[in-house]
């Protein structure tokens, strides 16, 4: 390797320039000394433009997710770990075991290589912890001002175990609605770092890979109907999506929704509703009502589901309203988000 690239990539002081996307030696060196070095695995090492591997029998799941979060480093994570967790979670929400990831990088001219290395190292660490490697990738560089440091698109594939059928259109009246823990942490953590909004908080992003929690859950209750990670748009949006897909309504209980006091306070201060604030390490589960207690116990047995709660139930409603009993004792709709609450949160 050193014979091909006699001068090592300067990851301390160097910056991304146009040659790093030009297809020549500089790009090859960036791939070797940055991506392959950190993501290191047998398939990537082969150096092909694709990865070839065997998959077992069963249904394959595939999902893709672009990440443009700003700022790229935030309390509890960064764009790299987020890109790994986000796609693993999208695959896992089908009840699947994630196998492999791809990663496409769009880098902006001038991005410090030190920042890129920090992101790639964090991504590699997230992959190792999750046991899901990046096996193929792509790098492009755009001129200064045409990107915002780094954008990462990851695609994941996974396999659904036999007998598992989880889909957003399977919620039925009488089902129970559960959430795996406190909501709103990710969005508040990102906001606290925004240039024009900076505030002190102990809240960190909940960014995490949920596939092992999902595995625990489907082992306990194989007939889970729906799983969804409430990312952009938060819990409220996830519930509305599931209602729409399944052609049902929901009734939830505000008092049952897990929420950290710090997040509630920050939202109060900023005029946000925590039900609409993004999460990156939570899931919503819908299962037959009589299985809810068993599912809840399974979720709580896993560290990522420690604060899980049953928050409501699925009801018949042709109009697909998500209704909520407020802690105050009244009723209201939990509606779709109008406009955009927080831009570039993931």
């Amino acid at each position: 390797m050193s014979a091909r690239f006699p001068v090592r990539l300067d990851a301390r002081r160097g910056v991304v320039d146009m040659t790093h996307g030009g297809g020549g030696r500089a790009m090859a060196q960036l791939i070797q000394e940055m991506f392959v070095r950190h993501f290191d695995n047998e398939l990537l090492r082969k150096g092909n433009d694709q990865a070839a591997f065997d998959v077992g029998a069963g249904r394959l799941v595939m999902s893709t997710d672009g990440h443009v979060v700003s700022p790229i480093f935030f309390p509890g994570g960064d764009i790299g770990s987020l890109a790994v967790h986000g796609t693993i979670n999208d695959v896992a929400m089908a009840g699947a075991r994630p196998l492999y990831l791809s990663a496409g990088f769009i880098l902006e001219q001038g991005l410090p290589l030190a920042d890129l290395e920090r992101v790639v190292a964090s991504m590699a660490e997230a992959c190792r912890r999750a046991g899901v490697p990046v096996v193929t990738g792509d790098t492009k560089v755009v001129e200064r001002g045409k990107g915002d440091g780094v954008f990462i698109t990851t695609t994941g594939i996974g396999v659904v175990p036999d007998g598992i059928d989880i889909s957003g259109d399977l919620a039925r009246p009488g089902d129970a609605v559960l959430v795996s823990g406190v909501v709103g942490n990710h969005g508040v953590a990102i906001l606290s770092e925004r240039e024009n909004l900076r505030f002190e908080t102990s809240i960190v992003s909940d960014s995490a890979a949920l596939h092992e929690l999902v595995a625990t859950m489907i082992e306990a209750v194989p007939d889970i109907h729906c799983l969804r990670d409430p990312t952009r748009g938060g819990l409220a949006t996830a519930l509305n999506e599931l209602s729409l897909q399944s052609g049902v309504g929901m009734r939830i209980d505000e008092a049952a929704i897990p929420l950290l006091p710090e997040v509630a306070s920050a939202c109060e201060l900023l005029g946000l509703d925590p039900l609409y604030v993004a999460n990156e390490g939570k899931l919503v589960a819908i299962c037959p009502g009589h299985r809810a207690d068993r599912l809840l116990a399974a979720m709580r047995s896993h560290p990522l589901g420690r604060d899980a709660a049953i928050i409501g139930s699925v009801v018949e409603d042709a109009q697909g309203f998500v209704q909520m009993r407020t802690s105050f004792g009244g009723e209201r709709i939990v509606d779709w988000l109008a406009g955009e609450q927080l831009p570039r949160i993931c």
């Binding site: 024009n196 909004l197 008092a255 006091p261 509630a264 306070s265 109060e268 005029g271 109009q319 309203f321 209704q323 407020t326 802690s327 105050f328 004792g329 009244g330 009723e331 209201r332 709709i333 509606d335 779709w336 109008a338 406009g339």
Partner: protein, 380 residues
């Protein structure tokens, strides 16, 4: 949790609800106007109406600063944003408010106009300092609550000689609007809407105090209870109003004593007086021209007044045909009386200002309350 849960306690709410239910008289109803959008929002978000007896009705007032700005002034802001070399800074809600021909600042932004959403005036000042080659205009809106920060920014700009900064001033005054509602023919002659009492502004009153309401409580013989924005505040103030009405009193009472005093924030009001003066008249959406109901920038700060710097001609704007925002803002119609509500006008595609801000009646009805009553007709 300190200062959030305490004011949203369901047990206390049920206690107050029982008290209200036991004190309302059988032989009458109670029509109470909550002036502020903040109250409207709290009523809907927490489901306060569900805890009230049928005889108590809230009439939503014009206290949403986004909603009351007339189309002509939105059009001015749009023209400013389209002016080459201008960076227009605005609070977020204003970006989506439709002007004439359904243009909005967010559309101008998408077409390449330099429109920035800011959380604070300080951001606008910062943008002006960082971009001396651009004319940075702050689109100032709001009642007495948001006026002192604008005054401070103008003083700061003057002290610094920040020549590329100016303010498009649209600050309006609450007492003038309440008085105008009470004097309007709808209420006085036609008696189409009866208002028995007011839930008075909370944040506005923290600045101006409770004294300014004393005149019209006496003049129009209507009780005013200044109420906080938390749901328990709204319920307690409602009980206080019902008691005044039952006893035939019409006083200014202050439920929001943890913040509001009789004289208000004297420092803030004197700052405002230093920088602003009364406009002889100002157009409000829904209320029309209201005398002495808004502020303009004093001559001393003329250099920082966008209306003078850009010689803005605030002409006549055109409301969308069929939009009932004007009547809704006067309290003479409810969102459901509007033909556009929920059919072509939704928060995603607002036709009128009341559908934009979370404090607007239409947005609150749509977002929190449309499952009630005619839900089937307005479903998406």
């Amino acid at each position: 949790m300190k200062y959030i849960d305490e004011f949203r306690n369901g047990d206390l709410a049920r206690g107050l609800a029982a008290r209200i239910a036991s004190e309302v008289r059988d032989d009458r109803d109670y029509r109470l106007m909550e002036f502020c959008g903040g109250h409207t929002h709290a009523i809907f978000r927490h489901g306060v109406q569900d805890l009230m007896p049928d005889k108590v009705r809230f009439i939503h007032g014009p206290g949403c600063p986004v909603c009351v700005l007339p189309v002509a002034r939105i059009d001015c802001a749009i023209r400013l944003a389209e002016t080459p070399g201008v960076t227009l800074c605005s609070y977020g809600d204003m970006l989506r408010v439709p002007g004439s021909k359904r243009r909005s600042l967010i559309k101008v932004q998408a077409e390449g106009g330099d429109v920035r959403m800011v959380y604070s005036l300080r951001d606008a000042l910062r943008i002006a300092r960082a971009n001396p080659e651009r004319q940075v205009v702050f689109f100032a809106i709001g009642f007495e609550t948001t006026t002192p920060p604008t005054a401070l920014a103008l003083l700061e700009a003057e002290a610094e000689g920040l020549a590329n900064f100016s303010v498009f001033c649209n600050h309006v005054l609450t007492p003038a609007a309440i008085q105008h509602i009470l004097e309007s023919p709808d209420l006085r002659e036609m008696d189409s809407v009866r208002i028995d009492g007011f839930l008075g502004p909370s944040h506005v009153s923290s600045v101006i105090g409770s004294r300014p309401y004393e005149f019209f409580a006496e003049e129009f013989q209507r009780p005013v209870v200044i109420a906080g924005f938390e749901p328990l505040d709204v319920m307690q103030a409602t009980l206080m109003l019902i008691r005044q009405i039952n006893e035939g009193r019409h006083e200014v009472e202050n439920q929001y004593r943890r913040v509001v005093t009789r004289d208000g924030n004297v420092k803030a009001t004197s700052l405002v007086a230093e920088v602003f003066e009364l406009r002889p008249s100002f157009e409000w959406r829904g209320l029309g021209e209201v005398p002495y109901s808004a502020l303009r920038i004093r001559e001393r700060f003329a250099a920082f007044d966008a209306e003078r710097r850009f010689t803005l001609d605030v002409g006549k704007g055109r409301d969308v045909k069929g939009c009932a925002c004007p009547a809704i803002l006067r309290g003479t119609a409810t969102p459901r009386d509007c033909k556009l509500f929920g059919t072509v006008c939704t928060p995603d595609n607002p036709m009128g200002s009341c559908m934009v801000s979370s404090e607007g009646s239409c947005a609150a009805y749509w977002t929190y309350g449309r499952f009630r009553g005619r839900a089937s007709e307005v479903a998406a």
